[in-house]
Subunit: 193 residues, 2 copies
Amino acid sequence: MAETTAANERRPRSDKQRNRTHILQTAERYFAEHGITGSLDAIAKRAGIGPGTLYRHFPNRESLLAALLQARNDELVSQREAIRQEPDTTAALARWLDALSQWATAFDGLPEPLRAAFSEDTSPLALTCQGFITTTDEFLHAAQRDGGARPDVRGRDLFLAVLAMSWVRGAAVADESSPTALSNLMRTGWATT
Amino acid sequence: MAETTAANERRPRSDKQRNRTHILQTAERYFAEHGITGSLDAIAKRAGIGPGTLYRHFPNRESLLAALLQARNDELVSQREAIRQEPDTTAALARWLDALSQWATAFDGLPEPLRAAFSEDTSPLALTCQGFITTTDEFLHAAQRDGGARPDVRGRDLFLAVLAMSWVRGAAVADESSPTALSNLMRTGWATT
DNA sequence: AGTACAAACGGAGACTATCTCCTTATGGGC
DNA sequence: GCCCATAAGGAGATAGTCTCCGTTTGTACT
């Protein structure tokens, strides 16, 4: 056993990993240009492979998306660690929600599949969402303990609200101040009470 | 000139209006069952007409949607009149936002094209949105005058927030309390300040 | 009633996208 | 160098949007 693979397991063919990487690089660029609804066959063509190859690696758009998001998930997790150092729990929650919002807008149209994944736990994105909801809950509870966040709010709702704001932001690009305005709205609401 | 049509204008063929009505009835049911992304050709087939006929009446999904929404727009406008009688301007704003939210969820998936229309004034839905943003602004200004709403909020942002909440609600059906929770969140925010 | 004709209909089919299946190619182990 | 499992490639089934054009039909006029 010169390899680290399990016994009776042939080492995976080298072209497989090579293709996978190449697909991801191509898809990254393609989604950045056309949004995540761009044609998958077009990505295959641009990557110089057949559609069958793309679909073997990533059986649907969602799994491709999940793979692309991996790097950003890691990034978000490391941000989470940094934010945990923040002594002001309310500021920490605000920073976390901001980071989450940036994550959800990594690609144009991303909130849509995230929302879809939210309600089906069979999706590769669902687990990711679940993890981030848990984190949201942690920051929220800390802030609630310190009196900085309303006690009746749930992490789940905050997560959904961030997703919703990220979604609507995609169309509101015309107005520069919308992102801030919406983020403020979510923080303080419209009422004065 | 025995007819009310303009001079030199032939009266429109009777089957035209008949088909139009029939298409609308069929589409109403179809969208209610399948959401607004259901196949247009399928609607034509169910209505017993050719796709060409459907597309002549409604050149795209959006215009069909706009026609279907007409009745609901009227309903919303009449609700607006009722809400204007409300002496408590803050309660009025809350009621208006609620009505708006119901309007935006008349069909499954409706928030999507509404958001799209929001940023392109060429759309038949865009004008409708614009009108409702104006109304939102009216109720908002009244509430702000009376100190019930934060002065830095804009009607446009409130409208977008309602749209966003309506959108996310589509997926959050699993959790009964989400609609209320999100509506509260929009009203008071997550922070205690 | 019959005729003329603009208006409207119907549906074949062009186009685009997703995804599958099966043949061909190739890399790994011996 | 040979075997063959593994992966690649791409044709094509399926489905949806939308258009074009030959055919039909309702209306007006005689």
